[in-house]
Every structure is written in C-alpha cells, then in structure tokens.
C-alpha cells in the first residue's frame, strides 16, 4: 500500500514536470491519471505468476554508482572507438562467465544492463549464478574489472524493501 502511494506521487511529479501547466483541470487530470496508472500496474502485478518487483536500493549509493558508470562508459567507449578506427581491427572475441552476487532481481538486472551499456562487453544470457558475457577485446584484466563492477552494484542494494 505504501508502495502504491509512493508510485502515485512519483508518477504525478513526472506528469507535472512533463506538462508544466498549472491549470486546475490539468492537475486534476494528472492526479486521476497517476491513480489510474497505479491501479493498472497493481492489476498487472496480481495477474501474472511473477509478483511485484521488490525494490531495495540505497539512493545515495545509487547516485554515486551512476557517476562511476558514466566515467566507465567514457573509458570503454574510447577503447571501442580505437578498435573501430584502426585499419586492421584488432578484435579478440571471447565468451566468458561473470559471477554475480546480487540477491534481488532488480540488482541483477542493473548489473546486466550496466555490462551491456559499457561498449566492449555484452550480457548474452543469465543462467544460474552467472552471466554469459561476450567481450570484444578480451584480456585477463576484464575479470577483475567486472568483479569490481559487481561489488559496486551489490553495494547499492539496501535492506529496506519498498
């Protein structure tokens, strides 16, 4: 119930920031729309076999993590750009396994999406307790770098379940 209220408030803030119109009619329609959206989402959570997504993140850690990811994206972009522009493209492809330590589905999805977002590595499959990752220019350092990323994602996971 608490979560529904928070979702509705979040959606209403989104509405207000998108429209930027303070007329009463628009605001009332926005409130109605957010309540409607929350209602549909609740129905959807109840309908499938997969119950609601448990969200536990530490906001401050998560913001720090986003900035770290941006720096990481810049570095790996540079690596891939060098490969694309070099005349004989020095590709060393490899599939390898990356273990993950996150407990929640959301944490695992964040880790997998971060791997894919940094150019040079792509999550191909989630199986059991590890991801199958495809690397473009594979070196032994990649394992250490991805383990570091894994630790950082695990740090953003909190205990409070909203």
């Amino acid at each position: 119930m608490l979560r529904s209220i928070f979702t509705a408030i979040f959606l209403f803030a989104l509405w207000y920031l998108m429209s930027g119109i303070d007329k009463t009619l628009t605001l009332v329609l926005g409130a109605g729309s957010s309540v409607f959206a929350v209602w549909i989402v609740r129905r959807m959570d109840d309908a499938s076999n997969f119950k609601r997504l448990s969200v536990h993140l530490r906001p401050i850690e998560f913001v720090k993590y986003i900035f770290w990811v941006l720096a990481e994206i810049a570095k790996s972009n540079w690596t891939v750009i060098k490969i694309v522009l070099s005349p004989n493209m020095d590709i060393k492809q490899k599939m390898y396994k990356v273990p993950f330590s996150q407990k929640s589905d959301l944490g695992q999805a964040i880790f997998a999406n971060t791997i894919t977002l940094t150019p040079g590595t792509i999550t191909v499959e989630v199986e059991g307790d590890h991801f199958l990752v495809h690397g473009l220019s594979y070196s032994l350092d990649d394992h250490a770098a991805l383990a570091d990323m894994d630790r950082r994602v695990s740090k953003t996971e909190g205990i409070v379940d909203l």
Partner: protein, 147 residues
C-alpha cells in the same frame, strides 16, 4: 521457459506504469503539444502489448479482459457521438463546442476537444489491443523444427 528472461521481465515491470502515464499525458495535452487521441491510444495499447509479449497472453487477458475490449471499442464512438448530440440538445449544431460554455467560447472548445479526444483515444486503444489479441491468439502454424 520465461524464467530466464530476467532482464526483460524487470525492465517491463519498471516501464509499464510510466508508459501508461505517458499515454494519458499525451491524451490530455492534445491542445498544447503534438499528440492527441490517436497517439495516446497507441501508446496505451503498447503498454498492454509489451506486457503481453514479455509475460503471457493469459495474464494480459486477466488485466484487460476480452469482453471489455469489445465494450470499449463501442464506448469510444459513443463518447464521440454523445458529445455531438449533447451540443445538439443544448440548441447548437452537431459538435459545436461553444454550447458547453456559451459565455466563454474558448473554454467550451477546450472542454469539447477534451471529450472528443478522449473518445478517440478509448477507441484506438480498444482497436489496437483487439488486433493484438487476434494476432496472438492465432495458433502457430509451424513448429520450431520445421522452420
């Protein structure tokens, strides 16, 4: 079998609420920004279609039952026509929005447009979801091996 599509499931659950809100935002801002009933209906239907693709047709039919789709199809047209008839009952022409607020024609047109757009949006949602149900409900004619 869907168990290993973890990322798709999580992303769908995260996005669906926002998509529905965005649909309603486009719906009710038809006169301030590009958009209106047609786009809003499609976006709203996309939320259900995404849910149906990633989870299953069965669960999306629990959320948005098939009988409701057919009712909603007609409801949109009724809202549209009803607005026109309401203006006629107030003594004006068909779909002459000034009827809703004779003293402030601009307000009247605003109200009238909102109602019309709402009707269009409802019908388009219904049509899109009905097309998706019809496509997805079709039994596959080929097995994996034959392909």
């Amino acid at each position: 079998m869907i168990f290993h599509h973890l990322i798709l499931r999580v992303v769908t659950k995260l996005l669906v609420g926002t998509i529905i809100l965005f649909a309603l935002y486009v719906q009710f801002h038809g006169d301030f920004s590009p958009g209106g009933g047609f786009q809003a209906g499609v976006i709203m239907a996309v939320a259900f279609i995404l849910y149906g693709i990633v989870f299953s047709l069965e669960s999306v039919k629990k959320v948005f039952p098939e009988w409701l789709v057919h009712k909603i199809l007609a409801l949109g047209v009724l809202i549209y026509a009803g607005t026109g008839i309401a203006t006629m009952l107030l003594g004006y022409d068909f779909l002459d929005y000034d009827a809703f607020a004779p003293l402030h024609p601009t307000h009247g047109q605003h109200w009238g447009l909102l109602a019309i757009e709402f009707g269009v949006g409802v019908t388009v949602t219904g049509v899109m979801v009905a097309i998706y149900y019809a496509f997805a409900g079709r039994p596959p004619s080929l097995t994996d091996e034959d392909w």
